[in-house]
Symmetry: C2
Subunit: 339 residues, 2 copies
DNA sequence: GTGAAAGCGCTAACAC
DNA sequence: GTGTTAGCGCTTTCAC
């Protein structure tokens, strides 16, 4: 079985003390160049690698970061993780990924699990089902660095980064209005999510800006977030049966966009009404029916989130001023809306 | 700042020794029920959690597992990771994810990085560009438990799990042949990957089974694995310009399927030739043109891989008999091939 | 049945 | 400049 070399081994071999070796390896100014070279050479020769577990125990820093997402197999999140990983790797941090599958229980268990694993900090996108935030508030109070991304939690004061959801929705709806659409249905995500409310806000404000009334009949919340196809099915059915009928649909999440397209396709109604939906799918250009979509800057969001977290972790002094960064989203495939 | 409770704290508070507390917490038979209860109760009261870093250092086990994939933002891999995570979580392991982006350099660096992070074992799917296996062979020789999944490495003797790629390809091609297609073009992945060769093998064997000649002109390898759209573009162009023209296309990876569809669509040739391609996209049912596809059991593969790894890690005795598990793939949307 | 003590690998105060 | 020592939190011989 494999037995890794330790500082002690080097010290013994070179007849110096372990602390000298430690200092030399960390390139301390106290050690003479000559000895440094000797130690470094020998370390390289025996393929010495420091034991990060021991360093963690000693320094009370694990250089690992917990990431809490709904599901890695969701394009938006896998792109975010990609962004997180790119920076984490650069800065010498590991990321430990955990999925809530939008369940409150799993979120609580997994976050506690991550925290007890001595992560240096947490990157969290809230589960759709979570309405009690105690498990997070506790950790935050105890001083664990936390950054929220995407589905942020307003009640906790820390760094946050998310799409400017309200603006994205406002722009999407304004565009529809400018093209002459007037009765715009809205298929919305679970209502306790920050992103749901922000997107709804953009929707209503755009209507108000055009002096159109807000008709709550045109809005359907999907509590399952698109997981439950039946729920989406019923929502669409109800919306399409309204009179006067809606003349466009705005869909406020990836999963809901997919589910809605499935439903419309099954009903052979896919070309009956234009759609603008959120989507970060990597094959959106291959999907049919074609639809206009709002694409979030997921990769960038991941990068910003982890940069914020590392800043929090590595800051020598407590930070009291926090920023909530809002990213622009991109509207794509808009030419489909011309008529 | 947060200061977690330690065994010492408990010992002090209850006037017992740290070793007694440790034993009680680990439910050792040596400790009297009475004392056990007292200690457990107090630990629960002060919300004691053992420090996994200290346990790792002491036990030389980190309960974390490194996972090396090409890209998390690839449906097949995110589904695999989902499967890995489901079991890892259950068994108390963390997974640390690393992406090679199909680059040899990044694979080498990341695998070494994972290993130096004292992971208990490694789950690896090879990068497409890797042809030198020294970095993995070294670790394997040193006794680090390694399991390969999906893109396996034949030269190393350990547990492996992958799709029965040769059978999947054989079945797909046989089906095409049974429907009367005779000149089947094959867009293949990078040629040093195990999966590429296996799929090619299934392809040729199915042809041989039908007494059809193998025409190497009908096969195009894409070294970029679908990342480089231009490469796929040229491949398709050449294949379609062959005379006699191919009457169907078999595509041997997710990314290549997507890229090929894009190319065909751009050339407005999407309905000119039937396609059967590998795909684990979660929106394959929404894609256009519709195509028949081979779907791998990615989630299951992840679960099997990590179970194998944990078996390797937790085995008291060295294991010399290794299994390479082959999973069936599912052929879907076949009705499109009727004509 | 319980405690004392050593040690996992590393670092940092404190000596000299 | 370099060595000595203590200790991070935990487990595990070895005593008693």
């Amino acid at each position: 079985m494999f037995k890794a070399a330790t500082i002690k081994d080097i010290a013994q071999a070179l007849s110096v003390s372990p602390s000298t070796v430690s200092r030399a390896l960390r390139n301390s100014y106290e050690i003479s160049e000559e000895k440094k070279k000797m130690i470094l050479d020998y370390a390289a020769k025996i393929n010495y690698h420091s034991n990060p577990i021991a360093v963690s125990l000693r320094n009370k820093r694990s250089y690992s970061i917990g990431v809490m997402v709904t599901e890695v197999a969701n394009s938006f999140f896998s792109q975010t993780i990609d962004g997180i990983e790119s920076i984490a790797y650069e800065k010498g941090y590991n990321i430990i990924i955990s999925q809530s599958h939008d369940s409150y229980e799993r979120e609580v268990i997994n976050i506690e699990h991550l925290a007890s694993r001595s992560v240096d900090g947490l990157l969290i996108s809230m589960s759709a089902q979570t309405t009690d935030y105690n498990h997070i508030e506790m950790l935050h109070k105890q001083g664990l660095p936390i950054v929220f991304f995407d589905r942020i939690l307003n009640s906790i004061d820390t760094y946050k980064v998310t799409t400017d959801n309200s603006k994205a929705a406002f722009d999407a709806i304004s565009l529809l209005l400018s093209k002459g659409y007037k009765r715009i249905a809205h298929i919305a995500n679970a209502p306790h999510l920050s992103i749901t409310l922000d997107r709804l806000k953009g929707y209503t404000e755009a209507l108000r800006g055009a002096d159109l009334p807000f008709d709550k009949d045109l809005v359907e919340f999907c509590f399952s977030g698109g997981k439950d196809l039946m729920e989406v099915d019923l929502a669409i059915e109800r919306l399409l049966s309204l009179r006067p009928a809606p003349d466009a649909i705005f869909i406020s999440s990836d999963l809901l966009s997919n589910a809605s397209l499935r439903t419309l396709k099954a009903k052979r109604l896919e070309s009956s009404i234009p759609i603008i939906g959120f989507s970060n799918s990597d094959v959106v250009d291959l999907m049919s029916p074609e639809f206009s979509y709002v694409r979030q800057r997921a990769f960038e969001m991941g990068q910003i989130a982890i940069k914020m977290l590392i800043k929090l972790i590595e800051s020598k002094y407590p930070i009291y001023e926090f920023e909530t960064k809002l990213l622009d989203a991109d509207l794509c495939n808009l030419e489909l809306l011309n008529r």
